[in-house]
Symmetry: C2
Subunit: 512 residues, 2 copies
């Protein structure tokens, strides 16, 4: 329990033993049980108190200790229980999504799947760059940042962003996320500071117009970043100006962040007021035809059906935690049964340089997967917004493996859950939207295993070329992570493939 | 103390004995001492703990019990102590105003003094009209109010508002305040309801465009009303649309209200977050060239110098309390020494029908002044925004006395405090801005007295006509309130007038 509640100031342990939903269980006689909620609107999020085998709802309280405020006739969120004797049924279930109201927007033509890279992972691992422009430790939004001495490690510079734009354009990515572009990062956290960011003022070395024009000339979009530092009131006050600024400069998507203690002070990330805040942001963004990818927000409950521009969320431990203590090898065999039942997760997969000691920062941390498993995530971790999170130079070192990330779809016609056992393994196949292309992802926990992959979903009587990105024979999550093989085979709907996965490994297959 | 803290959910007693500032004291040896604060920005309001003769600052805490949040280098508000052996000096002091920063706006041409009437007092006393359109007790902003059965008592109807517009035009008022024009009043209070008003949707019988066009055709403005029910977060979310709605429809001034328990929940009317909220509203209003008159907001600290569009506030017991238990006859001999040291007060004077049993509602309440004292308030209670609060039909019954309200200035070149003793009496003369007109107001507490009024501020060697609106010989605040006399005399700068004031009475003089 202690390890489970590492303090990143976006989570707070409940006093009594409790568990976040979706919670995934398996009975001794093999019944799979999933408990969550759907359509969380104007109500606090539910956790589950755990007393032995008895579960009860814990509603996240507000600043004065009240659970919620309702006016008759009100609808509480649905309480969902998905039960099956097959784990694959749990993954296939659309119960939670379907319990949400249909899309409220008339025009959704502006909401599009996105494959993106970003000035981001280098902040966590490279030791060479950071969000902040200077090393001043006490800044205000009214300061003239051009008068500060640059620290020489600022990542969101014109030069660096152009490098990412070039790379995105070269390899067919839709967009480049840039974090650390706006003033305030010098003391953005830990001070419960309300006026922490203004969302419209770039650092002196980040030229908004120039970079957006450059990106546009290359057919690439920049993705805006709005870290709020959990100062939701500040964000709401500035929301219209921030979104107008985005539209004026050509942005159509924003990643939001809520790291820190919430303002309104005393509220929680998952209390009713904040639940409403996230929806308010998504709905307001829709007025500006902006897509939202929220991090550290309340975990989703299928609202992407109603507000499809709220295109993805983090809301669970994503890749960044691989650089902050690490994730266990079974983590991503659990997430599709838990966090992802509520909606798409911006997990930010695609780390090729998994051994972080490579950067010479003194870190001995590893991303706890093989390289091939990172590829598999593009299929196993559903999101219409998918990042290739590693740095361009790392992808260039493994151009053959990178080809899978370039090829893989981000939007799908259909999904086939081939094998699954929560905490152990998942194998999923998906058909690319509007294309005769299929992609398969298979992952395992810390144990090696043989994935049984069938291709029965392929059109009958036709032959396809499957490119298999697999763990090398000597690969392992805590050994030779970058050992992988790529081979092409011919498959039909009758084919069966027994594919060996390394400990903490995976397999990714593209079929054309 | 118990009587002093009547619960109107816009005030909350402090546990220990304490007093709101500005506090006015007089020592046994005749020294007048006034304690307040100036330039309250980004800091909680200060009350004073009282332990015998020891005073100490009590800062209003936030939702989690913290007093305030500061980032170096920060400025706390000034603590002000004004001391004199003359009470008149206390009233004349501009210390608090001058300790505020100069005006932050470049263009102030749109900020103008206003004399107004309003669809307002009738809600408190007539028994015939009210804010709400229907008697439904549970409404939502998404409801179609046109489907509700009207209660027949709605005050903000096209017909009634036109009557007020006609009266305003006829008698030279600048504006008509209309409360109860927008949906939500059916259950606006007591439920800690966040989405309580939307500020843009009129009731079915209030035609915004038609009424504003009608008012404009008569040279009159409508004053917008934004009761927030203390749901500040809701107001902030809707602020831009609300102000844009005002501009689109011709409004240039808004009366805001904060009756109720604050949202963000746990915050107080006077805590740091709310202090910032009021300023945020005033500054945002300035972007739209809108003037703000806030009720139930933190008491002012001279910020009208910095933000002159925050033209007036209530922030102490005003006339409405005469209909809710009554004000003591010495109340208004104290306010200029206390509440008004921070800035103009929208006291809403001018009640002619002071005995409320007149309306046949069963009320035996009285406004605890003579009619003449109500006239004097236009001089003693400084505000560039002044209301004639009574109903048109009452002014028509006392057309001769009403002439003073029509004549009196709302903006001044100079002020002469002639006599003053806190809790006992005040006599003030003022010169109308840019005009050779002077107005004098004198008031007394429950005791009759003789005001000694000099005219030494008049240009020397010239004769002027002074119209004196005085208490009748038999007048009294708890007897013949409407007994008054009007006479004209000739005065020069050498004149001295001994004017008898009735118990709870007053005198008003216009000089041309």
């Amino acid at each position: 329990m202690k390890k489970a509640t590492v303090q990143i100031t976006a989570q707070q342990p409940i006093k009594n033993p409790s568990v976040q939903t979706p919670v995934m269980m398996k009975s001794t006689d093999g019944l799979y049980i999933n408990i969550h909620e759907a359509a969380l609107i104007n109500y606090p999020a539910m956790a589950l108190n755990v007393e032995g085998f008895k579960l009860s709802a814990h509603l996240v309280p507000d600043a004065v200790g009240n659970k919620g405020y309702m006016q008759t006739d009100a609808q509480t969120p649905w309480r969902t229980i998905i039960v099956s004797d097959k784990a694959t049924d749990i993954l296939s279930s659309k119960l939670i999504l379907n319990l949400n109201e249909p899309c409220t927007y008339e025009d959704v033509s502006w909401i599009k799947p996105v494959k993106y890279i970003g000035v981001w992972w280098e902040y966590f691992v490279s030791g060479k760059s950071t969000w902040a422009y200077s090393d001043v430790t006490n800044v205000k939004l009214t300061d003239d940042f051009s008068k500060f001495k640059p620290n020489g490690r600022h990542g969101a510079t014109n030069e660096n962003v152009k490098k990412y734009i070039d790379f995105a354009a070269k390899h067919g990515f839709n967009a480049v996320l840039v974090e650390g572009w706006n003033i305030g990062w010098e003391d953005w956290i830990g001070n419960w500071k309300e006026e922490v960011f203004d969302f419209v003022t770039p650092y002196p070395d980040f030229n908004v117009k120039e970079l957006n024009a450059y990106a546009e000339s290359k057919g690439v979009k920049l993705i805006m970043h709005h870290e709020t530092s959990a100062s939701a009131t500040n964000y709401e006050r500035r929301l219209h100006k921030a979104f107008q600024f985005m539209k004026d400069n050509g942005y159509n998507a924003v990643k939001t962040g809520y790291v820190g203690d919430i303002i309104p002070r005393g509220e929680h990330h998952d209390s009713q007021w904040m639940v409403n805040h996230y929806i308010h942001v998504a709905r307001t963004a829709a007025d500006y035809k902006i897509m939202v990818n929220s991090h550290e927000a309340v975990r989703p409950t299928g609202l992407i059906r109603t507000y499809p521009n709220w295109i993805a969320q983090e809301s669970a431990r994503g890749t960044e935690f691989e650089a902050m203590g690490g994730l266990s090898p079974d983590h991503t065999t659990i997430l599709p049964f838990t966090r992802l039942k509520g909606g798409p997760m911006d997990y930010t997969p695609g780390i090729f340089q998994t051994d972080l000691s490579y950067y010479g920062t003194g870190s001995t941390q590893r991303v706890n997967t093989t390289l091939a498993k990172q590829l598999a995530y593009y299929v196993t971790m559903y999101s219409p917004l998918q990042m290739a999170a590693d740095m361009p130079e790392n992808y260039e070192r493994f151009a053959d493996a990178f080809q899978f990330i370039k090829d893989v779809a981000v939007d799908w016609d259909d999904t086939y859950v081939l094998e699954a056992e929560p905490g152990d393994y998942i194998t999923i196949a998906r058909k690319a939207k509007g294309k005769d292309e299929w992609f398969v992802g298979g992952i395992t926990d810390e144990n090696a295993r043989t994935a049984n992959i069938n291709f029965s979903y392929l059109p009958k009587g036709k032959k396809f070329t499957a490119t298999i990105y697999a763990d090398g024979k000597d690969a392992s999550w805590n050994g030779k992570q970058q050992s992988y093989t790529i081979k092409k085979i011919t498959v039909t709907s009758e084919s069966k493939l027994k594919q060996q996965l390394a400990p903490g490994g995976g397999v990714a297959i593209s079929i054309k």
